[in-house]
């Protein structure tokens, strides 16, 4: 489908009417700010993305670009205060989660949308065994008996390929290695068979050989269950391996969205081009790496016009005045650059 992006979706009838729009999870024009002693940080400034069943959307961006805050807002675990949603919608099956009752939201969490984090150790409770924490979900949310819940929990541990799942059931999180803890967290988040899984830097803390194991596992589980997956990462290598579509974030906005092949072959935003050029290539030893000059903006003081303009090698006077909206170019991609057409039409 081509009407994936941008504000066309807010046409009457589509949003807010409670009628399922066909999309599984949609974030639209989301805005979040943090009100701190030092001032107001505008952290999310109109994020729009969606994920459908069976597909993997990668959200790519450097640290501080707002990837995690967007995910926290979707999950309803935004740190409030200081964080406040100041605009936009998060629709699950067409229904805005930001305005529904707390009870409705709670039901979606776990069964509708689940999340895994970079740091499994802090996501698991250290005082309960891993097995207990998984079994509890079956008891509380599904009303299973203690012994049935235990059986299901062991099945889950087995599904995420923890060797000797039965024996491991009564281990505490600290008795697991980093990779196994990540598996346990995946088991926990998938226990209630969610339709969407948000994975926030699930392998950033892991070594490459373990990272490969975990990414395999996630891809396999996603395929089997036809889940929609939002994979948050800053690693352009991981993205190239698993994503269907990519949304690139910069200073709290999506600056480019495209399918994975188009994005790497022909980025349509200067920031994406800069990111791809900065990766050390195995075969270009000794050559200077191309870099993006300067630093991401201070979110308390985002420059006017295009937020990327102080760092952009293509910036023109218009870029300091007009904020480029995220507009569709061609059929299934979008870019928030005044000169996006020129970029995709170059040879």
């Amino acid at each position: 489908m081509s009407d994936i992006l941008v504000s066309e979706q807010s046409k009457p009838g589509a949003a807010g009417s409670g009628r399922p729009s066909g999309r599984l999870l949609e974030v639209e024009d989301l805005r979040v700010e943090f009100r701190t002693r030092d001032g107001v940080a505008k952290v999310i400034n109109g994020v729009t993305y969606h994920v459908d069943a069976g597909e993997t959307l990668a959200v790519l961006g450097e640290s501080g670009s707002g990837k995690s805050v967007t995910a926290q807002t979707i999950m309803g675990i935004l740190d409030t205060p200081p964080g406040f949603v100041t605009g936009g919608q998060v629709r699950f099956h067409g229904k805005d989660m930001l305005t529904m009752s707390a009870e409705e939201r709670r039901r979606i969490r776990g069964e509708g949308i689940a999340m895994i984090f970079q740091d499994a150790l802090s996501a698991l409770n250290p005082v309960f065994t891993v097995g207990f924490q998984i079994a509890e979900q079956f008891r509380i949310r599904r009303g299973l008996s203690r012994s049935d819940a235990k059986k299901r929990a062991i099945e889950m541990l087995d599904q995420v390929k923890i060797p000797n799942a039965k024996g491991r059931f009564s281990n505490y999180p600290h008795q697991f290695s980093g990779g196994m803890r990540q598996r346990a967290m995946i088991a926990m988040s998938l226990a209630l068979d969610p339709e969407v899984l948000i994975a926030d830097e699930p392998t950033t803390a892991l070594d490459v050989t373990v990272q490969a194991q975990i990414m395999d596992l996630l891809a396999e589980l996603q395929r089997e269950r036809q889940m929609g997956m939002i994979l948050i990462t800053h690693d352009l290598g991981v993205v190239a391996d698993v994503a269907d579509r990519i949304a690139v974030m910069y200073a709290g906005r999506i600056v480019e969205e495209a399918n994975v092949y188009d994005l790497y072959a022909k980025p349509a935003h200067p920031y994406t081009m800069g990111l791809i050029d900065s990766i050390p290539r195995m075969d270009e030893r000794g050559q200077q790496l191309r870099t993006i000059k300067g630093l991401p903006p201070n979110l308390m003081n985002i420059p006017p016009g295009c937020p990327f303009n102080p760092r952009c090698p293509m910036a023109q006077p218009v870029c300091r005045e007009k904020l480029p909206p995220l507009l569709q170019i061609g059929t299934d991609r979008a870019s928030a650059c005044h000169f996006a057409e020129d970029l995709v039409n170059r040879d």
């Binding site: 450097e62 070594d207 490459v208 490969a212 790497y264 050390p280 290539r281 195995m282 870099t291």
Partner: protein
């Protein structure tokens, strides 16, 4: 070939594992570094790669003589650093400096940038007499691409990449010959990482530095290194030129490591033959007998449990590899298109 500026022989660093509070009883040892030999040539970059806990940082600390080795020697121009102390050690330390991973915690937050970079001069006043220090610090700031006007700022006023530059300026203050970089870009975002890597290369060319460059990111290491050592559980399993390691790896661990590196090119997605290792790295307190990699190795035979494979050149290969069955294997993932 150029001379060796550093020669490391059979280096061992064990940490005791103790139990009990009052009467500490040693119940074992963490074999963090367990028999490492390597050379660093003048003006080259030696990369050291390996997974978390394999002993990279411990190696760095022992090379710097921040910790004494349990056994073995570290020769700098013919002098064993690990046996020196007092003034002799201090003089030698000038020549070897360290840049650490974490730009957030490795700088004292209460010192200005000027004080941080100038601090080494306090210990080595012969390098810069008091009156000239501010100017020297400003020169260093300029050299690493920071604004000399910011000499009175504090670390928290800088970004991660800028703090890493401060760390580099500090390491350069005493005009060392060798810089040991322990994961200097691992905490940085890719665009900032590229800036710091370019800086390190520029400084090497301008100042003739030799680097030991420790990292777990194999593409970063390849980009900067002339030669590469691969570590697993406290030992070097393979060492060679950048080409020998990345194009013709012979140790199964190196092969697995390289094949697992995600390649930033979606068109290669289904063409990569990834070697999937099972399980985790065993504990360095009780490493497996024989070859330490055997618990995860798909080629392991009985002999692997009995005999420690030496790090040596075997027939059919052009560089040292510590595997009884070392042989070439095509690793598609290491190639860029």
């Amino acid at each position: 070939m150029t001379e060796n500026i550093l020669e490391v022989r059979d280096l061992v660093k064990h940490y005791p594992v103790t139990r009990g509070v009052v009467f500490k009883k040693t119940i074992g040892h963490v074999k963090a570094v367990d028999g490492v030999s390597l050379e660093l040539k003048a003006g080259e970059t030696l990369g050291v790669v390996g997974e978390s806990g394999c002993g990279k940082s411990t190696l760095a600390r022992v090379l710097m003589n921040l910790e004494r080795p349990t056994a073995g020697s570290v020769n700098y121009k013919g002098q064993d650093i690990s046996k020196l102390s007092g003034g002799a050690l201090r003089r030698l330390r000038r020549q070897i400096q360290l840049v650490m991973q974490d730009p957030y915690t490795s700088l004292n937050p209460r010192m200005t940038v000027g004080d941080l970079i100038g601090e080494p001069f306090e210990i080595h006043p012969e390098v810069a007499p008091k009156g000239s220090r501010r100017d020297k610090v400003k020169e260093l700031l300029d050299l690493v691409g920071l604004n000399p006007e910011h000499i009175n700022r504090y670390p928290h006023q800088f970004s991660g990449g800028q703090r890493q530059r401060i760390g580099i300026a500090r390491a350069l203050a005493l005009r060392p010959e060798i810089i040991i970089c322990d994961e200097p870009v691992s905490a940085l975002d890719v665009s900032i990482q590229a800036q710091v890597m370019n800086l390190l290369e520029k400084l090497q060319a301008e100042l003739g530095l030799s680097y030991v460059f420790i990292a777990h990111d194999l593409s970063v290491v390849r980009h900067l290194s002339d030669r590469v050592a691969v570590m697993y559980l406290g030992k070097i399993v393979e060492i060679g030129t950048e080409d020998e390691i990345y194009e013709r790896p012979t140790h199964p661990y190196t092969q697995a490591l390289l094949s697992a590196v995600p390649v930033p090119d979606p068109t290669l997605r289904d063409q990569k033959a990834i070697i999937r290792l099972t399980g985790d790295v065993p504990s360095p307190v009780s490493p497996p007998s024989g070859c330490r990699f055997r618990t995860r190795c798909w080629k392991a035979q009985d002999v692997c449990a009995e005999q420690v494979p030496l790090l040596e050149i075997r027939s059919g290969s052009d560089h040292p590899s510590a595997c009884h069955f070392a042989e070439k294997r095509e690793i598609v993932a290491s190639h860029e298109v």
